[in-house]
Amino acid sequence: MRFKGGVHPDYHKETAGLAIETLPLLPRYAVPLSQHLGAPGTPLVTKGQQVAKGEPLSQPQGFVSVPVHAPTSGAVKAIKDWPHPLGRSLPAVEIEADGEDRLWDGLAPLGDWRQQAPAALRDALKAAGLVGMGGATFPTHVKLSPPADKPIDTFILNGAECEPYLTSDHRAMLEQAPAVMEGLGLMARVLGVKRIIIGVEANKPDALEALRKACPPDVAAEFVLLEAKYPQGSEKHLIVALTGRRVPAGGLPMDVGCLVQNVGTAVAACEAVGQGLPLIERVTTVTGEGIARPANLRLRVGTLLADVIAHCGGLGPRIAKVIFGGPMMGLGQFSLEVPVIKGTSGILCLPAERITQYLADPCIRCGTCVDACPMGLVPSAMGVLAERGRFADLADYRVGDCIECGSCAYVCPSFRPLVQLFRRGKAELRALESRSGAA
């Protein structure tokens, strides 16, 4: 089945043929305490303390929270505010590496997941700090704990990677196919789900083939090649494309009995249970016309952007923008001191000629954005309302259902910054709600 709307940007998957390389050990790392959606943890370490690779640095606060872990062994140099990819400074643990890369002796591998109880597996994933690695960074154990009245019958592996330029999931599927399939089987076991569907966009048939070959005999999965269309990798659209079910407005995949997990998360789950390794590494694509040597890198969480760029030969002379994530949904960075976090799927470096410096024109009501919106919204009208400050009316147009995929802004002939307008509208509505709640 196809979902409505969407766009076909230039895919620029130039790095798809580059094997994953591991970044050598660096002298320092900065691990932000907040790398997931939900409450940040409280620090478990103090300044000057020696930590080992994989040792937890924070204690989760509440259910929707996960710990972060030391990327290597060394001393805690400071716990202080550090530039964060989200745009402001947030508390981070700065670690000075001792070069030994000594593994923490408190790691507790569970071994074969087939022998483990679902609850034990879920606890192991939480302790390992697992979050959705596609970019939204929602804690995995929360996704794996659906309420009793919302049984999950279908487990979906998201191998769409529809964002242009990014190839980290593609490489992981090719090079770590057995780990992907093991992690997938493991997470399906936590939920006791029988039906497993693997969806990969049509521009990566080799990845789907690699997964099919690596599929263990006791994991019964369906392999589906999806149409290459943005935003195919969006949870709700992936579910429509694979099962024909529609997540209700304002709902979650569990409302239609589905659960979606990213490829990188599956690999991390396999390592967390099999070897007891927490989530301290991830594969990130470094690409764009503004970087000397594009690559797919295995990076430790907490690696500073400047170190990654130096490893890739530095930025080009006309560099204008460095984005964490892809060009459609990624976030521009304001400092080269920001660390790579669990959700950093790509680092995109764009020179000035790839950036449009535009002044937005008025909406001409052409309706192109209405055709492009995969959520069936009316971005043209919503944009005008947000611009005029009519935020309460914006709620009637269901701005809350906007997934901020950027398809509308991509096709807009007036170059209107629609997603920015909607984000503003959502923030204003949240403020309105909290005010009326307080009154």
């Binding site: 989200l86 960075q333 400092s335 920015q420």
Partner: protein, 266 residues
């Protein structure tokens, strides 16, 4: 010809009588004082009083829901006139003026990144607090200017907003429009002001802006009351505002200024 004239005249008579009857039958009782008050009010319909325009405010005054000196725009003279109509007396309040507690333009506080989006401070502030090196500083995209109904705010070429005290009516719209919350209403007679909102520690504040308050407390010592450093920022207590203008010289970064906000019109 005659018939047509007669028909038209008849129609006119019938309609006129109908309208006359309707005007009596459907007449809305209004307090004559409300009409009188509306004449006295500035008529800007700015909403600074908290009511939906001047007529609404006049009605609220008549019903006792709003104070006679509730119109911030009209100031003392209007308050007295309104009190006269209502048969009340009013104590004259001092005129206030909006003040932006930031003077760090692009030349003094650098931009952290190239902002290429909506020309709105609130939208820019969503992107990591905005592009200004100082996270408390004025972003200069003019949300306050857009909110001002009296043309009392200018955006200077250096990318910072400035209040034109002469035109300011202290309606308070800009105070709510600023996403950084760095505008407030100060008494017009106060002359010493801290034009900074940065709450970073000294070294960071210095890095963020050349005219930032570095919380050295020299002003606090020199004034001996009326100005105090809290949360790494000097703040004037306008209830006991300091008057010794020499203390401005004590500020090593020029964050404290002497300003004459009095309007010649009032």
């Amino acid at each position: 010809m005659l018939v047509a004239t007669a028909v038209l005249a008849g129609l006119g008579l019938v309609s006129g009588l109908g309208l006359g009857w309707a005007a009596r039958f459907f007449a809305v009782e209004t307090d004559p004082r409300q009409e009188a008050l509306l004449e006295l009010l500035p008529g800007a319909n700015c909403g600074g009083c908290g009511c939906a325009g001047c007529n609404d405010f006049a009605g609220a005054v008549v019903s006792g829901a709003a104070p006679v000196d509730g119109c911030p725009v009209g100031g003392g003279s209007t308050a007295q006139a309104v009190a006269g109509v209502m048969g009340l007396s009013v104590e004259l309040k001092e005129r206030r003026v909006a003040l932006i507690h930031c003077q760090g333009g692009n030349d003094l506080a650098p931009r952290r990144y190239l902002y290429n989006g909506l020309a709105s401070c609130a939208s820019a502030a969503q992107l990591g607090g905005g592009d200004k090196s100082c996270l408390q500083g004025c972003l200069g995209l003019g949300d306050c200017q857009g909110a001002c109904r009296f043309g009392a705010i200018a955006i200077l070429p250096s990318g910072i907003a400035q209040i034109l005290a002469e035109r300011c009516t202290a309606c308070g719209k800009c105070v709510g429009a600023c996403p950084k919350g760095i505008i407030d209403l100060v008494p017009e007679r106060a002359r010493i002001h801290v034009l900074c909102s940065n709450t970073d520690r000294g070294p960071q504040a210095r890095k963020a802006c050349q005219v930032a308050c570095i919380a050295c407390k020299k002003c606090e010592k020199a004034a001996g009351g009326g100005i105090a450093v809290t949360d790494f920022l000097a703040r004037v207590d306008y209830a006991l505002a300091p008057t010794d203008e020499a203390l401005v010289e004590q500020c090593p970064n020029g964050s404290i200024r002497v300003l004459d906000l009095r309007s010649k019109r009032h």
